[in-house]
């Protein structure tokens, strides 16, 4: 039994950029690092339209990133593939997306396209219907050091979102 009752979530609303853009947190590893990867994507709504008032936050197990989406719903990070978080786990990045119209964040994961064997054995990917797992794996975007990962909040391509 817990002794403090959790505070509920509320939407981040539309007007947060002036408060949350102070943190210079889109580059998690120096761009010249030999293992640096570019990760780009867009946040899209159920009509396929850009979500320009979203915050994308990532956590790779040791580094944190935050990027506010632009008018195209786009976000971008420079990072490297992290170590797996446990035996038998595939490398992944935890993702939170906050936006106007989201009463609380959505949580998803980015897996890496060059890890097919580790992904096939990953115990969290295994919880996901096989037909939807591809929404959690980034795609190569013009080269192995450039990845793409879109977050579809709703619709036929809806990204898998997690809870715990």
């Amino acid at each position: 039994m817990t002794s403090a009752q959790p505070t509920p979530s509320q939407t981040i609303g539309p007007f947060f950029s002036f408060a949350l853009d102070w943190m210079d947190a889109t580059v998690l590893v120096s761009a010249g690092h030999p293992d640096a990867l570019g990760l780009r994507g867009r946040v899209l709504d159920g009509g396929g339209q850009a979500v320009p008032d979203a915050v994308v936050e990532i956590w790779d197990g040791s580094a944190f990133g935050r990027c506010l989406t632009d008018t195209e719903g786009a976000f971008e990070f420079t990072l490297h593939k992290p170590a797996p978080r446990g035996p038998g786990h595939a490398p992944h990045i935890d993702v939170s997306v906050f936006a106007r119209g989201l009463t609380q964040r959505v949580v998803t994961r980015i897996y890496f396209p060059d890890e097919p064997q580790a992904n096939a054995a990953d115990p969290v990917l295994a919880l996901v219907e096989p037909g939807r797992r591809a929404t959690l794996v980034a795609s190569e975007d013009g080269g192995p050091r450039s990845l793409r990962f879109d977050v579809c909040l709703q619709g036929p391509e809806e990204t898998v979102f997690f809870a715990y």
Binding site: T2, S3, A4, Q5, P6, T7, P8, S9, Q10, T11, I12, G13, F15, F16, S17, F18, A19, L20, W22, M23, D45, G46, G47, Q49, E57, W59, G61, S62, F64, R85, G86, H89, D94, S96, F98, A99, R100, G101, L102, T103, Q104, R105, V106, P123, V124, A126, L127, V128, E129, R132, L153, Q154, G155, E158, T159, V160, F161, F162, A163, Y164
Partner: protein, 234 residues
Amino acid sequence: MTSVAGSPDLTIDPPYDATEYRSTALRAPAQPLVLIPSRLLDSAGPVFGDRGVRPSDADLTRQHEGEPIGERINLSGRLLDDSGRPVAGQLVEIWHCNAAGRYAHPVDQHPAPIDPNFSGAGRCLTAADGTYRFVTIKPGAYPWGNHPNAWRPAHVHFSVFGRAFTERLVTQMYFPADPLLAVDPIFNSVRDKHARQRMVSTFDWVTTEEQWALGYRFDVVVGGHLATPHEAQS
């Protein structure tokens, strides 16, 4: 492999499809959430001790040449986990509109005055006992386009980090005895009345300073946002 689907625990959190808040229509996920058992989760999370938060960032009344218009308030509380233990050294970010109900944001078109002495953003790190403190002014109510004659109650946005990624929370703090709370779709997107009350600050004599500022207290509890499993499906 059996997977378990779930949805937010409505005794704590709002559903995604709170349809009376119209912006949810194309943004609420339609598929059930996939529940990750705790044994598969990473217990770590970001720590912000070295990210350059300055003590002056916690006083929103001293970010410009002059002082902002409005009721000056001391806004403080504690960041706790769901066992009631303080969360120390973590980042708390707040933001809100000015006393006339207008945000320092280019998209906000409410025809209320902009206050040149108020930006409305603050941040601090919690102390060893989980305490945070801000000095600011009480925000105004403002109209929005959700439904005819819709007005948001005065509120302060809070963004907090617990110890783990799973404890990340963004919420809004309200003021006691506000008549707009009863009709606000965002406040009432939280379905449980006891949970809603946990978003309402309390007026506080202890932090009220004579001839200077009113005190409000608001504790934030992170963690424990466990989803409700649906019937097991294969």
